[in-house]
Subunit: 337 residues, 2 copies
């Protein structure tokens, strides 16, 4: 499709966003400008070390939701982006854009959450910037975080390494973050409250790599959900990913909320989960290592990598058929992070 | 003063912003959280190298103004923050927050300006993120840039190094950026158009350090203007800075516009100028080197460092008196960068 204006879908993590990046950013900035192929920019540094850089802005609405707020989200999200490239996150910078009239008490809560999240992930917040815009020109608070990490020499993770036979593991239930934000935003009173899974995943990645340095790829399924992550895996490696609907871990609360709202948990954002492609003979030891980490207790195999159809994600459904899992064009849940 | 809400002045670069940082950020993040003492976070990296990290969000209104736009501003600003710490800027990350309905053609212009600025400064834009918020929840486009640079081992610049006897040099006319934005925003038709000085200063810093590695400190006087920069110099080094009003380079167009609007060019933002404290015996060779660089042609000495009153900036005025140059409490020109 062709547009002359920015639409909500252009920030969706789906096709429209990809089109925006491919048509407007890459031609100018070059192909290095992260087209979702890697969450962090990995760049050569002096002395043979490799550093990882990443950035994300957070515009989640509402800023406070069950299980977290925009503050811990902005730190965990950037910690996770670095972690997915195999890097050890070290430093974070923060940029605040705040609307005139925003409560300082709320800002205090947000900052405290950032600090707590940074401490847990053992990253330092080393630089910051604050801008204030006039009332009505922003929506409370927006936060940008950029992250810096070091990539150990022996680490080589990338969706391009995925090959037929690999198994696909997710670290726990999917859809929690997105449904927690939606339930708060829409004022929905579900039977059991749904909590965001906002969490740092650097120790989980470390634990996984320590038992299996040959892990092919990691990705945290945020905007666009697990479906978008798996499609990126399949497209970048030129393989097929076949998942089993029955194996997908979804809490009954999230499943119920999704049914009520007509949403598919496969497309709902997570903020404390990862998907990984792992050599089949190492799947058990990787799962063992994951389940010993507080953020990998719910780790399960959800599928496998096959030869064809290349670049596609297929799902064996509950009723026994097989369907293609496609990327959404636009925005299922705007402003979820 | 005590507040329970964010006010425009909290993003001003003046006292209110400093109070905000001292009261709300530093107690949580620790004293490393850039209190204007350094523009970049300089952190130890493996192998003995030091890397510099910095971040800034840009909310300038209007986004297009004579001499530049939010795009080149966002790249030059971060290049300059790294440069002021003596670092060689290498990589930039970008975070876009865009309002639904923003014209893609305008986005294209902004992106092109960023690329052009990055090329001129020889930095690479290596990562990016795009968020879209609903109409009325932002103001066109906000851009965050974070920067990464390497700090050569022999470089040691910091306002704490400033000592009595040093001379204060500025690289050219002051107030151009702020008045260019104001004239566009207010629709003022001045006799001669005023252009922003938006420019990368990394080569200028390099040229200065190459003839005088003992330069004490650099700073780019953005929000809060040259006055705020000099007050930071004085406070951090515990010296007095005595400047000469007659020596301040201001174009007649900027002077006239300031008079019309009741503004003082000392407090108006610059985006392509620097102030430096230089050992007195090296002032001439530093000035020579600066004037050979396209961004230092207008370099002049504007004052000197004296013993007391400690932490103060004094100005010999046109009429022969001496007055204290104080920091503004709040916002003279909101959303200037």
């Amino acid at each position: 499709m062709s547009y002359d204006k920015i639409m909500l879908g252009h920030g969706s993590g789906g096709r429209m966003m990809r089109e925006l990046i491919e048509k407007h950013f890459i031609p100018v900035f070059g192909s290095g400008y992260g087209l979702g192929s890697e969450d962090s920019a990995v760049i050569p540094a002096p002395e043979g070390t490799r550093v990882a850089l990443t950035t994300d802005s957070y515009v989640v609405h509402p800023i406070f939701f069950p299980g977290g707020n925009i503050g811990d989200l902005s730190v965990n999200g950037t910690v996770n982006d670095l972690s997915m490239s195999g890097a050890t996150p070290l430093y974070i910078t923060t940029g605040f854009i705040i609307e005139e009239g925003f409560l300082l008490s709320d800002l205090g809560l947000v900052i405290a959450s950032m600090k707590k999240a940074a401490d847990e992930a053992r990253v330092k917040i080393v630089a910051g910037d604050t801008k204030v815009v006039d009332r009505g020109k922003a929506d409370g608070i927006f936060i940008n975080t950029a992250g810096f990490g070091i990539l150990p020499e022996w680490v080589n993770v990338s969706p391009r390494n995925i090959r037929p036979g690999d198994v696909i593991i997710v670290s726990g239930t999917i859809g929690d973050h997105g449904m927690a934000v939606m339930s708060k935003r829409e004022g929905l009173g579900f039977e059991s409250e749904i909590f965001s899974d906002s969490a740092p995943l650097n120790t989980l990645v470390r634990d996984m790599l320590s038992v299996c340095p040959e892990i092919r790829a990691f990705r945290d399924p945020t905007r666009g959900g697990l479906a978008s992550t798996l499609i990126e895996f399949a497209e970048e490696s030129g393989v097929c990913i076949l998942i089993n609907e029955k194996a997908l871990p979804v809490t009954s609360a999230v499943r119920g909320a999704c049914e009520l709202l007509g949403l598919d948990p496969l497309y709902v954002a997570n903020e404390g989960k990862l998907a990984a492609a792992v050599p089949p003979d190492k799947a058990d030891i990787v799962l063992d290592a994951m389940r010993k980490n507080p953020y990998g207790k719910g780790a399960v195999i959800i599928g496998e990598v096959t030869l064809s159809p290349k670049g596609k994600v297929l799902m064996k459904t509950h009723i026994g058929g097989t369907r293609i899992v496609d990327m959404l064009a636009g925005e299922q849940l705007p402003r979820i992070c």
